[in-house]
């Protein structure tokens, strides 16, 4: 079935696509906030957690600093994976249902 642009954005498939795009974004953003502000608030209110030692010289604070960076990076990769595996494919199939004005 071919659709006009305004029919397309009223279609349930398109609405679902937009909703899932922002759901994924805001869930990942929430994780990012918990990750980063958890670290900052731990420094502010629970310093004792971070000064506890791991092994002979390192402490949890040093590990946490590196972990916040690694987790942020990982969240970015999750988004890329979702984008490549789901989002792009659904965009392609939606585009194919779109009526091309220049073709007629």
């Amino acid at each position: 079935m071919k659709l006009k642009p305004h029919q397309l954005i009223e279609s349930p498939e398109f609405k679902k696509l937009v909703r899932s795009r922002w759901t994924v974004s805001f869930i990942l953003l929430a994780f990012l906030f918990v990750n980063y502000y958890g670290f900052i608030l731990a420094i502010a209110f629970k310093k004792a957690w971070l000064t506890e030692r791991i092994g002979t010289t390192a402490n949890f604070g040093l590990l946490a600093g590196a972990l916040v960076i690694v987790i942020s990076w990982f969240l970015t990769l999750i988004y890329v994976y979702w984008g490549n595996a789901f989002y792009d494919k659904r965009i392609e199939s939606l585009k194919n249902t779109l009526e091309k004005e220049g073709e007629k």
């Binding site: 397309l8 990750n35 980063y36 900052i40 000064t51 010289t57 960076i69």
Partner: protein, 512 residues
């Protein structure tokens, strides 16, 4: 060991000349390809995701990141790490919220996104005010920092250092436009990542390649406290506010946002952020090793004696570990770092002046290709000279607040409007203008009234605004203004155009 820092030596100058000649070669090559405005502003949209990822990291990892954070870790220990973490977390947010819509909606500047369905003239003028405030404050901080660094490293005077940086930067942007700027950033990012890796490896070799032994040495020399959080997060509200400015400031930096127009589509834009986050994350994870090693191997006193901000920690460490040749290499890398960032900022400012103000506002979209490129080149010269003059004028000022100001304005003036124009159907021109102006003005005003300027620069005994970072207040105000003014002055045309905007945002149909 006596340092040769501050005396021009043959090897430093040789590295420096090789770098400048190499990048000018790139500019010569790029100049022959730069004829249309799309080539000048957006490198003809021919950059791949990987290349753009490197260039984005080149744009973002400024001298403040490389020399500043390693110096902060060297002098203040753990608190430097908190900063490094804060500088990274904006990248995932950029990916989740605006990277793809930005690429699909825009042409050359972030104002294109706002102007897609809102009133051209008022939106472009206010977006230009926000954009130019950010690029100008950020450039002055970079130029003043660079003058002092080149002054310390090569021993030439502050003024000639500023003119040198400004002059070479102008050549890149003027003749090569975005193509040359991109390649200068790619070369710089690769050099920086290589240099820091080598520095960290040579430093770790002194501790038997054991990070644990390095921490042990820090503890023996400076005590346990160097490895633990100190006073940086003593005020949680200030820390949260700083975090917001760092995170969402990135989403409003014009020179970063315009890099998304150099790639062909949204998929490549997504890839660019993934690569950039990888490079930048790696950099911020290893830079503390350089700082801690400098503290142990050179000593805080010696580092602070050369520069009280600790900015020479990495350079001194390089000299200790690899002698004058390595110092020369690191000095050239630091120089490249400054040049690339300033070139990116200048290009962003020139695009705002020529594309948003001249082309879309004054000529109402009626100007030939030649005229657009000519105006862009003139804007580059004007902005470059203005930047050099302000850099000389601000010589003895504390410029740390300018970086804070740039991020606060970007987070409160540019980001809310950009974000709402993508997501909110009822966003109107009045709401956009109110959001940009209230965000950037309140951020600037609060910084002036804060301890950083009111006490440290003006010398009053107590600040009027008690926090150092205004973002939490100015961002709220900006969103509030957007909401109130959009409800107050609704715009039927903008609501109707939201449909065609959606087709373009999500499907990329119609994107150039």
């Amino acid at each position: 060991m006596e340092s040769t820092l501050g005396q021009p030596n043959f090897i430093s100058v040789a590295f420096f000349l090789v770098f400048v000649l190499l990048t000018l070669g790139i500019t010569y090559w790029a100049a022959r390809k730069t004829k249309t405005s799309s080539e000048f502003y957006a490198a003809g949209r021919s950059i791949t995701g990987f290349q753009n990822g490197l260039a984005l990291s080149g744009d973002y990892m400024s001298a403040a990141s490389f020399l500043g954070i390693s110096g902060m870790v060297a002098l203040k220990g753990y608190d430097g790490i908190i900063y490094a973490v804060g500088w990274l977390v904006g990248w995932p947010a950029l990916m989740f919220l605006i990277a793809e819509p930005l690429r699909n909606l825009g042409k050359y500047t972030f104002a294109d996104v706002l102007a897609f369905r809102l009133g051209q003239k008022p939106i472009r003028i206010s977006a230009s005010i926000g954009g130019i405030l950010v690029t100008l404050t950020y450039s002055i901080a970079q130029i003043v920092g660079s003058g002092k660094l080149i002054n310390l490293m090569f021993g030439i005077s502050y003024e000639s250092a500023v003119v040198l940086v400004g002059g070479v930067m102008l050549l890149y942007v003027l003749f090569g436009g975005m193509i040359a700027t991109t390649w200068v950033q790619i070369v710089k990012a690769a050099l920086l990542l290589f240099g820091v890796t080598l520095l960290a490896l040579l430093a770790l070799a002194k501790f038997g390649f054991s990070v644990s032994d390095l921490y042990g040495a820090v503890e023996t020399t400076y005590g346990r406290s160097a490895l633990e959080p100190g006073g940086l997060v003593s005020n949680p509200l200030d820390a949260i506010s700083l975090g917001l400015a760092l995170m969402f400031g990135l989403l409003g930096l014009p020179h970063i946002l315009m890099r998304f127009y150099t790639v062909p589509d949204a998929k490549e834009a997504r890839k660019s952020v993934a690569y950039a986050t990888t490079f930048i994350g790696y950099f911020y994870i290893i830079i503390p090793i350089v700082g801690f090693a400098a503290a142990v191997l050179i000593g805080k006193d010696k580092i602070a004696a050369v520069d009280k901000g600790g900015n020479m920690a990495a350079a001194l460490l390089a000299e200790l570990l690899g002698g004058t040749p390595f110092l020369g290499f690191i000095a050239a890398v630091a120089f490249a770092t400054i040049l690339a960032v300033v070139a990116g900022l200048t290009l962003a400012a020139a695009s705002t002046i020529s594309h948003d103000l001249h082309f879309n506002v004054f000529r109402e979209g009626k100007a030939t290709e030649e005229e657009q490129v000519r105006v862009a080149r003139r804007a580059t010269v004007a902005f470059g000279i203005f930047g050099i003059l302000l850099g000389i004028l601000f010589k003895d000022q504390n410029v740390a607040f300018m970086v804070g100001l740039a991020f606060a304005i970007a987070a409160s003036g540019n980001f809310p409007a950009l974000f709402l124009s993508i997501l909110w159907r009822n966003f109107s021109t009045a709401g956009g203008v109110a959001s940009i102006l209230s965000g950037s003005l309140s951020a600037s005003l609060l910084i002036i009234l804060s301890p950083t300027v009111w006490v440290e620069v003006f010398g009053f005994s107590s600040p009027i605004f008690p926090y150092k970072n205004p973002a939490i207040f100015s961002m709220t105000l900006s969103f509030l203004a957007a909401f109130v003014f959009s409800k107050w002055f609704p715009e039927k045309k903008a609501q109707n155009a939201y449909e065609s905007e959606k087709v373009r945002v999500y499907l990329g149909i119609g994107a150039e």
